[in-house]
């Protein structure tokens, strides 16, 4: 056990929690990493609802061929905003900037992140970026797709400029968070918190931060160029002005492939921690999991060309990028095997967070395996830019990231708010989310195999049955998400009081009171064992 904390529990239990201070100002100007984490999550949830609603609207349009109620432009705007909002405002920031901010310092035994003021600035920039994204709607909502491919996006004007600026600012926020985390992990670990005792969630955040710091500047610069091109017709990307449209794709994917790891690595961290606690077993292969996160982060930088197998690259580049892409598959597979092996000889409890992890494993496995079809040069040429790709990246990014967010939410809710949630309702929500997800996206694989291109406002009648099922599935997800949010907010407002350590976790966050005091620890803790030592002789 952690001695200092033990003392604290017996005697000097702090009065008061980080939630005590009231009033808007106490939130807007807080330097407390926990409050900053919550603000990130609150903003993201709002945008999540908006982005999700957009998807429901265009899925309804796509239920039948021909025009239902959306013009092609309206449809294109909705899928663009759906993608841009969910990626930049929800999936990328949610786990690292939300849960990460809240738990990373506690997990390593620190009072706060290394640079609390910078942290506050990050969340401010995040909010400003979000507002700017909404503000751009006044200048005609953009319909460029979240990928902004040039030259389609190169001469739209002010609206694309403002969106680029917004993403530029969101990127700055992301870079600052990454920087803060890297320094925090290096400098603020409590005595005894060796690298080998870091929870895997921390390792995952550390790997994510590296990607954030190295890759995001490229996105910022690329979008700045695009914004300037729109204002001044400079000619970076527009061939009529002597620019190169394919250059944009290289620059864009140089960030946006690593970005998929920004979305998925933190989710991996959540899975490692939650699966170990709820199986009541030591994580299997700690170092393989930690090292594979770092490996994925680095290999992820040199595979971006796999988005461009039909875009006009040389065959040499095609072959090289395909080869490297297969490399990423290996560490990812290793992680999945290790998680499943963690359940072996455990004492598995089927709580809501655990159910979300099980769903995660199934969905992510499908997502990963279907990636093999897209990494393969032969098959990608057929499948590229079809619904197969849409299904694949929803399985990897959404299925996995959003399911990990829900797992994390239910797993840590008792700690963050000191309240328990309604287990039964949470499981019903899980059922709707999981079934709805499968119904929505499994048919899209088949659509893609048949050759249905993506981003289509209309399609030949033979594709209709599968689109119909997909839309019904999306309605189920809507029910599941609303129900789950209801469960969460009800718990926060009026849930039963939660004990400090409802799941019997061993990492540091479970050793402090729920909700944690502002300073996290009354005295600096001294760490004497790893976060996963379940069942260790002489230990627990």
């Amino acid at each position: 056990m952690i001695e200092a904390v033990k003392v604290e529990r017996e005697g000097a239990r702090p009065h008061g929690t980080y939630l005590d201070k009231r009033g808007l100002k106490s939130w807007l100007f807080t330097l407390d990493h926990k409050r900053i984490g919550l603000m990130y999550m609150a903003i993201s949830i709002l945008f999540f609802l908006v982005g999700g609603l957009f998807a429901l609207i265009f899925r309804t349009e796509l239920m039948f061929p021909g025009k239902q109620f959306l013009s092609p432009y309206a449809h294109n705007v909705l899928f663009t905003l759906h993608g841009a909002i969910l990626i930049f405002m929800v999936i990328i920031p949610f786990i690292p900037a939300g849960f990460g901010n809240f738990f990373l310092p506690i997990m390593i035994g620190a009072r706060d992140v290394a640079f609390p003021r910078l942290n506050l600035m990050s969340v401010w920039l995040f909010a400003i970026g979000g507002l700017l994204l909404l503000f751009s709607l006044l200048f005609g909502p953009i319909d460029t797709g979240w990928t902004f491919y040039t030259p389609y996006s190169a001469n739209k004007g002010l609206n694309v400029f403002i969106v680029s600026l917004s993403v530029f600012i969101l990127g700055m926020s992301s870079i600052l968070t990454g920087l803060n985390f890297i320094v925090t992990v290096h400098k603020l670990r409590a005595p005894g918190m060796t690298w080998g005792r870091l929870p895997l969630f921390v390792w995952a955040l550390y790997a994510t931060s590296i990607v954030q710091v190295i890759a995001t500047p490229v996105l910022g610069i690329t979008l700045l160029l695009l914004g300037l091109e729109n204002l001044f017709n400079i000619g970076f990307f527009d061939p009529r002005l002597g620019g190169d449209p394919v250059l944009f794709q290289h620059l864009f994917w140089f960030y946006s492939h690593p970005a998929v790891y920004l979305m998925i690595l933190p989710a991996f961290g959540v899975v490692s921690d939650v699966i170990s606690v709820h199986s009541r077993k030591h994580i299997f292969g700690y170092w393989f999991i930690a090292a594979s996160s770092i490996a994925i982060a680095f290999i992820g930088f040199i595979v971006w060309g796999h988005h461009m197998f039909t875009a006009g690259m040389s065959p040499t580049a095609d072959i090289l990028f395909s080869f490297l892409t297969y490399f990423v598959a290996v560490p990812t597979a290793v992680k999945i095997f290790n998680w499943v092996a963690t359940m072996y000889k455990g004492k598995i409890r089927f709580t809501a967070p655990m159910l979300y992890i099980i769903a995660f494993l199934i969905i992510f496995l499908v997502g990963g395996l279907t990636g093999l079809f897209l990494a393969s040069l032969g098959t990608d040429i057929h499948l590229h830019d079809t619904y197969f790709v849409v299904a694949h990246f929803h399985y990897t990014m959404v299925g996995a990231a959003i399911f990990a967010i829900f797992a994390a939410a239910f797993h840590w809710l008792p700690k963050m708010f000191g309240r328990m949630y309604d287990e039964r309702l949470a499981k019903i929500g899980w059922f709707f989310n999981f079934t709805g997800f499968m119904l929505t996206f499994a048919p899209q694989f088949i659509l893609g195999m048949y050759g249905m291109p993506r981003r289509y406002w209309d399609y030949p009648a033979e594709f209709q049955p599968l689109h119909f099922v997909s839309t019904l599935g999306s309605y189920m997800i809507a029910i599941g998400v609303l129900l789950s949010l209801y469960v969460i907010f009800k718990a926060i407002k009026s849930g039963e009081k939660a004990p400090d350590n409802p799941w019997g976790g061993l990492s540091l966050e479970w050793q402090v009171p729920s909700p944690p005091p502002t300073e996290n620890f009354v005295e600096e803790p001294v760490v004497q064992h790893g976060p996963y030592d379940f069942g260790k002789k002489g230990g627990h």
Binding site: P65, G66, K67, P72, N76, Y149, P151, P239, D244, P245, V246, R280, K281, H282, F284, W287, T310, A311, G312, S322, F323, V330, A333, I336, V340, A341, Y344, K345, G346, K347, I348, R349, F350, I358, L361, L365, V366, L372, F373, S376, L377, G378, T379, I381, H382, D385, I446, M449, G451, R454, Y456, W457, D458, P460, A461, G504, F534, G535, K536, K537
Partner: protein, 362 residues
């Protein structure tokens, strides 16, 4: 296995089987991996579930390097096997043996244009309608010989599009300002749908077209038709009518082509202009005085047109010519600058024919 094949579209090109083979190999390897992993997971979930009231933790097992190295190396081998297998298919997709026919295809917002070495031209128009797409909306873009390698040289007039024929497993982007290419060899005669696969704006989903693979005899005939006869009277025919003509007995076919040629030659210039109008301009311009996407042609010649910048211009031959070749040079008041430039797409004779036609619309 058969079921899976039925989820892939028809296999109608020479390399389609190579692609589908890779697809199936990946599918079955993935399927096995999926069953093993999910099977193990379900088994553990059942066997190691915590009973009620059991507060004990699970067994203390932390790692096993041998097992972990095994399950790093084994998938790595499988994955690289897939890579090499798919490389084989890629080689076939990328490098044709020898090319029998090269066609230039230019994409635009929102349609396609194909140009044959002998000057034959096919253009598909945009379907800006609210009703659902039907099989008739797939207009012919390419007539190619079945059984022979065809290379398509792609480019685009405006934004990036992508030339995609699912039945051939063939796809490549059409990028403005550069040429890209792809090849295919249709294995059997038939009509194969062609889609735009790269998002290109409002009517991205409305660029459907057809690649028609012809039997050797039909192809021979197709080649015999001279370009101007084809462009002026046959290019805009529905596929089935053209196929019927290509299938006529020898004599009747020669007679038909001869007659078409004569009829074309005899046709006054403005009549030829009308045919071009029907093919290329009718989707935006009317001849009855009503307003459409563009201004009507009725009474256009000779009138004084108000331009968007407030100036006026007298409509004469030069203005018409400029409006067709470079429509954005002068924008008509009250209209959007959406007309595609026809620079380089119409011959001098065709432009004159169009102008003559417009002049007849008093």
């Amino acid at each position: 296995m058969l079921l899976l094949f039925s989820f892939l579209p028809e296999r109608a090109s020479k390399y389609a089987l190579d692609v589908d083979t890779v697809f199936l190999v990946i599918f079955w390897l993935s399927f096995i991996a999926f069953v093993l992993v999910v099977g193990a997971m379900l088994a553990f979930m059942f066997k190691y579930r915590a009973r009620k009231g059991d507060e004990e933790p699970g067994e203390y097992i932390t790692h096993n390097n041998l097992i972990e190295i095994t399950w790093t190396v084994v998938p790595a081998i499988g994955i690289f096997a897939i890579f090499f297998l798919s490389l084989n298919a890629y080689k076939k997709i990328k490098w044709p043996e020898e090319v029998a026919l090269r066609v230039n295809v230019t994409a635009r917002q929102w349609g396609w244009q194909a140009e044959y070495p002998d000057g034959k031209k096919l253009i598909t128009g945009t379907l800006k309608e609210e009703k659902a797409i039907t099989p008739e909306d797939f207009q012919p873009l390419l007539y190619v010989p079945a059984g022979e390698p065809v290379e398509v040289i792609l480019t685009s007039q405006d934004v990036i599009h992508s030339f995609y024929v699912p039945d051939f497993r063939a796809k490549y982007d059409a990028v403005p300002g550069r040429y890209t290419k792809l090849w295919f060899q249709a294995t059997k005669p038939g009509k194969y749908p062609l889609y735009c696969a790269e998002y290109c704006g409002d009517w991205h989903s409305r660029m459907p077209a057809l690649v028609v693979a012809l039997k050797p005899k039909e192809w021979e005939r197709f080649q015999k038709i001279d370009a101007s006869t084809f462009n002026n009277s046959l290019a805009s025919m529905p596929v089935d009518s053209l196929l019927a003509i290509l299938r006529l007995p020898d004599e009747e076919f020669s007679k038909f082509v001869g007659e078409q040629k004569k009829a074309m030659a005899a046709l006054p210039l403005h009549k030829r202009g009308e045919m071009i109008y029907q093919r290329l301009c009718a989707s935006c311009h009317t001849t009855d005085g009503s307003k459409s996407i563009g201004p009507t042609f009725k009474g256009l010649y000779g009138k004084t047109e108000n331009l968007a910048d407030g100036s006026t211009v007298k409509v004469d031959e030069n203005y018409l010519r400029e409006s067709i070749l470079d429509p954005n040079a002068k924008i008509v008041a009250g209209f959007q600058a959406v007309m595609p430039p026809f620079q380089g797409q119409l011959s001098e004779e065709e432009i004159q024919a169009l102008i003559e036609f417009i002049k007849t619309l008093k």
